[in-house]
Symmetry: C3
Subunit: 321 residues, 3 copies
């Protein structure tokens, strides 16, 4: 039996050929549509930063933060200078180019006169690279927090190589520095890339102290104006979000503090939601799982849900022996 894909007859071929003949008309309709379309500037947008380039920048910066980890080159103290020189130069070239694009795009969007985007982009790229040692110190504290908090962690290498929480925090720390340096668009592209890989959605505008650990992580949301102290630990599905908003919220609440403040040494268990810009969770507080919290909590407090009663139908709960 002949395989089905080779069934052919004159009639079929002529039908298919007729469809091909319709392509110019379809293209013409698309062209008319785009030429008369109002709304967002879908054509001739100012060149934007490239998603691929931003991902490449994340990788390059990580190879400088963890030399020897994300490279096939065999690194020793003796050849480290060459490696750092080469990687830094490449990162600088990529990053300055993308920042320039982001700055120019922003100038055009806001109809600002743009006369210094190029040198500004190069300066910011350099300032960013200069922060890498201090970022590495923060990340080392985050790695230690993972080792301290997770009994399943077998060693620092495992955390660096495979913990989604560390990846999300690492990308957030880079994006946050770029945002502080005044870079538009790129920080959000970075954190959304990490969100896509890890299910952890940290807005680059959030501010987060050292020794931060997110376990498992899928579903975590940390909003734009959240403030988190040092040595805080979160589990999967925790939302640090805004209170419910009216439907024109986009306009009215832009730039307000809308998300909570979490002080030092707080632990928040899985699937808990904490909302509101005036909500503060005090130092060393422990917030149980599956809780919905919209009020502030004093330091050294433990918040537990008085669990809703469960109904056991059938043989029921197991009694202790």
């Amino acid at each position: 039996m002949e395989p089905i894909t080779t069934i052919k007859c004159v009639d079929e071929e002529s039908q298919i050929s007729a469809f091909y003949d319709q392509i110019p008309e379809v293209v013409n309709n698309l062209l008319t549509f785009w030429n008369t379309k109002e709304g967002f500037e879908h054509l001739e947008p100012t060149p934007m930063p490239s998603h691929e380039a931003v991902v490449r920048i994340i990788h390059k910066a990580r190879s400088l933060l963890f030399p020897g980890y994300f490279t096939s080159t065999k690194l020793k103290k003796s050849n480290l200078a060459y490696f750092l020189g080469q990687e830094t130069t490449e990162l600088y070239a990529d990053l300055s180019q993308q920042i320039v694009l982001a700055l120019q795009h922003d100038c055009v969007r806001r109809s600002l006169p743009c006369s210094s985007c190029r040198p500004k982009g190069h300066e910011i790229a350099l300032r960013f690279i200069e922060t890498l040692p201090e970022m590495e110190v923060m990340l080392t504290s985050d790695i230690q927090a993972a080792l301290d908090g997770d009994p399943a962690a077998k060693g620092a290498d495992e955390v660096i190589f495979s913990y989604p929480g560390l990846l999300a925090i690492n990308v957030y720390r880079m994006a946050h520095v770029l945002l502080k340096l005044g870079v538009p668009i790129i920080p959000r592209i970075m954190t959304e890339h990490a969100h896509s890989l890890t299910g952890i959605d940290i807005h680059p505008g959030a501010s987060i102290g050292g020794s931060f650990f997110i376990d498992h992580g899928t579903g975590v949301v940390i909003g734009e104006t959240t403030e988190i102290g040092s040595r805080v630990r979160l589990y999967q599905g925790v939302t640090l979000g805004a209170l419910s908003l009216p439907s024109d919220a986009g306009k009215r609440y832009r730039d307000h503090k809308r998300h909570p403040t979490i002080e030092d040494d707080v632990i928040i268990y899985a699937n808990t939601t904490i909302l509101g810009g005036e909500t503060t969770i005090g130092t060393r507080a422990v917030i149980g799982g599956n809780i919905w919290l919209t009020e502030s909590v004093e330091p050294d407090t433990k918040v537990l849900l008085k669990r809703p009663e469960l109904a056991f139908l059938g043989r029921g709960r197991k009694t202790a022996k």
Copy 2:
């Protein structure tokens, strides 16, 4: 000191060589297994659509929906015709080929006589491309809904480039059109690709109106027979699902309406679950977060959880000053 990877001795090499010698026997065992195995047709399956090709189709279609956004080519009105012509032709070639494979696979699976899969595949590909302008209008309304609903959104470009909600909705809108045009398998591969990237799981069979916005999105599930009106807004972790099913549910409930109906202008906050094919949420209703709802709600209703009491151990909740 020599690095460890080069530790070698005659004994080691002969041991390793002995393992290599065992490969033919291992292969033979695999071969015997596959040749005698019953069950799914793991061998000689009809050629299937390729995952990579489907991803390529998504990218091509997005570059036609947002010309100038996902391409490195510099687009102007003057060269737009060439760009659209080239991209449309490539999309048509890829898409018609994959649809033909999907149709043929389906015919074989259901033991139908297959005599017109090829011309049918080409026709569907053409019909799909013709719907792009109207799909673009829908997506423009979705982008505007994101700008209206999210105070952190800085502009349309940021939404197009980095919002997972828009990506998931965009892929869903393509998959839904293909499903309506009678294409098997490919729509589901498309939405599962978006699910993998965004954590948002929209079945291509769902029907969803314009100005739809999903914020954050991780954990959202929208089932096969869900109906959603216009200007609806969802947050992360919302499930629009089926009521609990017996264990042979797969057979008994296929093709029934099992998922809720959400009318126009409804807002559903984070981690709420709404279940059942007869559950209808009326126009302009607002459903709070973390709610479990299996009954219908009248229009203009606000549903809130009478929060389960919290226990505060230690210094307790903060009293207003």
Copy 3:
């Protein structure tokens, strides 16, 4: 008008050139930092398994588990022997190399004398490949469980091609075998790769019986010491986790049984959390959605939440007609 990217003037160029001149100093600072840094061995780490190679191994093993599915080669019984021979040889080469790297890395980390990592790595790779037929039998039961449990499933091919639950289970089953064979690091890299693609986080140490089905899956967490029987079904957002831990948990609870036991034929609905190493869910129990459970349940029991009361403001709930 010239496009903005070409705005140039002598002054700009000299500014940019000055930034380039600062690179050597920045590199020197990085070098000094790395040369004086204490803490994790960021330099000269023992070569680690490569993430890319591990992903390639997953793909190769899946092409042996489902011959004809993940390959563009047209497979027939007549050429199957060549295909299996070729793929097995390639898988063996890749896998043995990565296992050797993982074993050597572990020896160095624990300061063990390393004299047999290479033959041991080759032997384990061979043992792993030998288990593929029995793994395929398990996966066939998992595919059947998806068809039985999901009314939206159209056929085995759709499950194999696009169900995230099956992908996560497949990768877990491979990682679990490697863990049992004594391979460090690689099993966790494998399951974190699946976690990234599916939002389903299964620790390779968990033990899981046949006919296992996870629907939708985003947010599922299955901890290291979880035991799951046969024919168990889970929905999105289910956590099988550990009870809350003190902050030095990492050290104190390593290697304890910290996660629940789920017996045969149990169903657990969406977003339910079951915690604790002594918690056992008895055979055929059904656990409703959105439940928080830290106690054991007898066989044949149905656990439901006495739903917290809802407040309906406005027109309210719909009354039955």
